[in-house]
Amino acid sequence: MEIEFASLDDSLARFTLSGASTAFANAIRRAMIGEVPTLAIEDVRIYDNTSALFDEMLAHRLGLIPIKTDLATYTTQDKCSCGGAGCPGCTSTYTLSVEGPKTVTSSDLIPQDPNAAPVYENIPIVKLTKGQKLVIEARAILNTGRTHAKWQPTLVCGYKNYPVITVSDACDACGNCVDECPRDILEVKGKQVVVADGKLPECSLCRLCERACLASGIGDEPAIKISAEKDRFIFVVESDGSLPAKEIMNRALTYIREQADELEKQLGELSGDDRK
């Protein structure tokens, strides 16, 4: 199994995974979305709210704000030494106290731990007019996207099979497929249609080119054929900013390994095999 990065920075990772089954590719995808913990506001105490939005709406908006997460300092509540009561090891508290006229933004949330501040400073929460007041205390906890989407570290997170485009000798370079391709992957070179340089991974396997080829009256078989490599995948992972894309991948893969080890252990116990 091999991972080759096409691009990698904190917010976006594109890579190809080769030598893996579809089941494994999907396991990675699901682990990245649903099993990597991040911080998000969960409990909100509203002391005063004379704004135009309901308390519940404000709480919901606060919950969706992405928060920079340092997984080395925070643990999930069920694994924390305080037993889920709430201590600095598993919760981060924020205070917000604003009087109008002003648009309350995420920068008005004063974090107790400066390392767990909101990712963006300019997320509007509510607009206050003169005389309106908002006093809120919020607690962020670590949890996974499985529980609620606000804890998902990823935005776009998906994969597709690596495309294979084969052009047979029957191609007469009519160019119909070139015009049809929505992603401009093909071009006419000499007397044949070829894939433009470096464009192959962009193919969406839509097969419009096959249909265009047939429609040009070439016969029963199209000269261009689209297929997919069954054990090679193109992944796109986008982070919401709470964790770098690389850490999301690392954590997801560690999670899969832990789960696999656990399964092996359980199976070993069942069969009475004491290799472990």
């Binding site: 998000a40 409990d43 909100v44 105490r45 709210n49 308390d55 519940e56 606060l62 919020a138």
Partner: protein
């Protein structure tokens, strides 16, 4: 215990006993005032 309301027109504090009507200006739209209790919510 009757909770306190605020008249939408004259903004005075009003107690409702029988009629829903502001005793000062006769307006019939009243706002219920926010209680003093701290509200605890889940951000979901």
């Amino acid at each position: 215990m009757a909770s306190t309301y605020k008249c939408a027109r004259c903004k005075q504090k009003v107690e409702i006993d029988v009629n829903v009507r502001c005793p000062y200006c006769g307006h019939r739209i009243l706002f219920k005032e926010r209680g003093a209790a701290i509200k605890e919510l889940k951000a979901r």
